[in-house]
């Protein structure tokens, strides 16, 4: 599903060159739930961003669904992300000015869907995360766990094949974190969605199919 070959990421300033990722090669199968662990600053999020085509590697190849992505234009990249990928962020990144339903509809705005269809799909996604009774609320009126569930609904509303989650339970207490993890596990199990999750939490990581560990930009496990 996702194939990374010799991925390197170098950050350059005028005086310093920092190697954030060092020759990472990774194959992630369709329907796999993979977690990435490692200490802060080891390159986990950078790797996830590169997988999600939000950032570009300095060297190496990425293939998603057997498609090479290095030659895609801005518009094609945007379309690719919209069709194939869903994102969940640690700090939710909901748009506070929009109601829950509008936030969840967001990925569908960039597709040819009617307003009616959008509403139906967004309501369906919110039902899956148990928040169909909060569609008119604004994000600031929700708890952290509820916000993350809205973010999950937004990530799955377009039925992407892959979900990339960057510390989805990082801002939540353990009970809330477990709830979110349950939703992700069910999503992977019932819908066959491929999930890649960055986490600091060993317990959460052990609930996934495979664990990859990074240290100083290199894969150690």
């Amino acid at each position: 599903m996702i194939r990374l070959q010799n991925i390197e990421k170098v950050y350059r300033t005028d005086t310093i060159e920092t190697l954030a990722l060092n020759s990472i090669s990774l194959d992630i199968a369709k329907g796999e739930f993979l977690s990435i662990m490692g200490p802060s600053g080891c390159g986990k999020s950078t790797l996830l961003n590169i997988m999600g085509l939000l950032d570009t590697p300095s060297r190496g190849d990425i293939k998603i669904s057997d498609q090479k992505t290095d030659h895609l234009t801005d518009k094609q990249l945007a379309q690719f992300r919209n069709q194939k990928l869903g994102f969940i962020f640690q700090s939710y990144h909901l748009i506070n000015d929009l109601q829950v339903l509008d936030n969840v509809e967001l990925p569908l705005l960039y597709r040819n869907t009617t307003a009616k269809e959008r509403k139906m799909l967004a309501t369906e996604a919110l039902e899956k995360v148990g928040l169909s009774n909060r569609i008119k609320h604004f994000p600031t009126q929700l708890s952290g766990g509820q916000r993350q569930r809205v973010a999950i609904a937004r990530a799955i509303v377009g039925r992407p094949e892959i979900i990339l989650a960057d510390e989805p339970t990082g801002n939540l207490d353990s009970a809330m974190g477990n709830e979110i993890m349950e939703i992700l596990i069910n999503l992977n199990r019932n819908e066959g969605t491929t999930i890649v999750m960055v986490t600091h939490d060993e317990n959460m990581a052990h609930k996934t199919h495979r664990l990859v560990r990074l240290f100083d930009g290199s894969q150690v496990q």
């Binding site: 999600g52 939000l54 379309q79 069709q83 909901l94 509008d102 990925p107 307003a115 937004r154």
Partner: protein
């Protein structure tokens, strides 16, 4: 999509109320000034009352002598010049000859009334559509006989005789001469120089002798062509005729060329302010107006660009999210420009309301007597265009900057 943009735009406006106030204030004030100015220029350059045949008319206002040494001498035309030369043209079906206004004082109950007098021939009443409140115009026969008859304006009637009085047949005194009133017309704004007067008299009763053969004088002419299509032909015929007019002997010593132009009403305005004998001033007028509008709009635009950039930085997380979920840079540029146009349209609506209020105040203040400024479809159209222009001008750069934000950087910024 648009609904979503609208929701966001409104939410962003409500988030920082002071910024919103500054932005809307800048936009609405700028548009108000432009709309009031447009309404004024529209009235000056395209009078509807009484000049309703402007599309078929040409105006001869100035007569200019020039010399190769660079000397220029300019003035109005004489009655003789206009009847003798312009009157010989084949194309015009009518030719009104009207004098410049001269002020005269009249006294009613020890109160001084200033009356602006215009001398005219009979064709003025055929070319201009004056609305008679009572009576009618004086006749060609009365003009030929130099009868002391007058058509007065409603304002002069009210000032001289008091309101709601029938005055046809009564006498009005100006410069110690009594004139019998034949009709009263609805007031004409003072800015419509060719058509405006408080009192119209036959040219035959003017103090200056209309038979004087000097070319310079106090008169202008309005030529009426049989159709709009014939206006160009009428202009060409006049231009050709002017080249054949011999320079009078008393002018030959100092000047070698005579200029006189038959202009449209609008051109008389542009030539007067922006042109000269050789140049109608149309391009200069357009350049001047464009430059003025551009400079005038520049300040609020720069302000809006600044406010917009600040707002963008506040919204970097949203930009990151939108990009992550499938918005291309181009889509984001559209979104931001749309939001900005929504803001400027809001400013425009406030501007239109302000303009209506200000025009009402100007109209009722009597600052320019009998002026009836209003917002017509043309002014509204200009305003709408100004809004769009404003929105685009102040939105494009911030939108471009926003769309260039790197997703990861944008997401980290929160």
């Amino acid at each position: 999509m648009l609904k979503n943009y609208f929701k966001i735009a409104i939410a962003v406006l409500r988030r920082r109320k002071f910024f919103t106030f500054i932005s809307l204030f800048g936009i609405s004030l700028t548009l108000t000034v432009l709309m009031v100015l447009t309404a004024f220029i529209e009235k000056v350059t395209n009078p509807v009352y009484p000049g309703d045949k402007n599309s078929r008319s040409l105006y001869i206002k100035r007569l200019t002598y020039t010399s190769k040494k660079g000397w220029i001498n300019s003035g109005g035309s004489s009655f003789y010049f206009l009847t003798h030369y312009a009157g010989s043209l084949k194309t015009p079906v009518k030719m009104a000859i009207v004098s410049r206004n001269t002020s005269s004082n009249a006294y009613v109950n020890n109160k001084k009334i200033v009356i602006d007098i215009k001398y005219t021939n009979a064709d003025l009443w055929n070319i201009a559509n004056y609305q008679f409140i009572e009576g009618k115009s004086f006749t060609p026969d009365q003009i030929n006989k130099a009868d002391r008859v007058a058509v007065i304006s409603e304002r002069t009637r009210n000032e001289y005789f008091g309101d709601a009085v029938t005055v046809v047949g009564k006498y009005i005194e100006a410069d110690n001469i009594s004139y019998r009133i034949t009709g009263v017309i609805k007031n004409v704004p003072e800015i419509e120089e060719v058509f405006y007067a408080n009192m119209f008299l036959p040219y035959t009763v003017a103090k200056s002798d209309y038979r004087n053969k000097d070319f310079w004088g106090d008169y202008s002419a309005i030529l009426l062509s049989p159709s709009e299509q014939m206006v160009t032909k009428m202009r060409t015929e006049y231009e050709q005729m002017v080249t054949r007019i011999p320079i009078p002997d008393n002018m030959k010593k100092d000047f070698d060329t005579l200029h006189s132009d038959a202009d449209t009403y609008f051109e008389t305005f542009t030539r007067g302010f922006f042109g000269n004998a050789d140049n109608v001033g149309y391009v200069r007028f357009l350049l001047f107006m464009s430059l003025f509008v551009l400079l005038f709009m520049l300040l609020p635009t720069v302000n809006l660009v600044n406010v917009n950039i600040t707002r963008i930085m506040e919204r970097s997380s949203e930009i990151g999210v939108r990009k992550a979920f499938g918005a291309s840079s181009k889509t984001l540029v559209y979104q931001f420009i749309t939001e900005n146009i929504i803001l400027t349209i809001l400013g425009g609506i406030i501007g239109v309301i302000l303009t209506i209020v200000i025009l009402q105040v100007i109209n009722s203040s009597g600052l320019i007597p009998d002026l009836d400024l209003n917002i017509n479809p043309l002014v509204l159209l200009y305003s709408l265009l100004a809004c769009l222009f404003f929105g685009l001008l102040s939105g494009v750069y911030p939108a471009w900057r926003m769309s260039r934000l790197n997703v990861v950087t944008a997401l980290k910024a929160q």
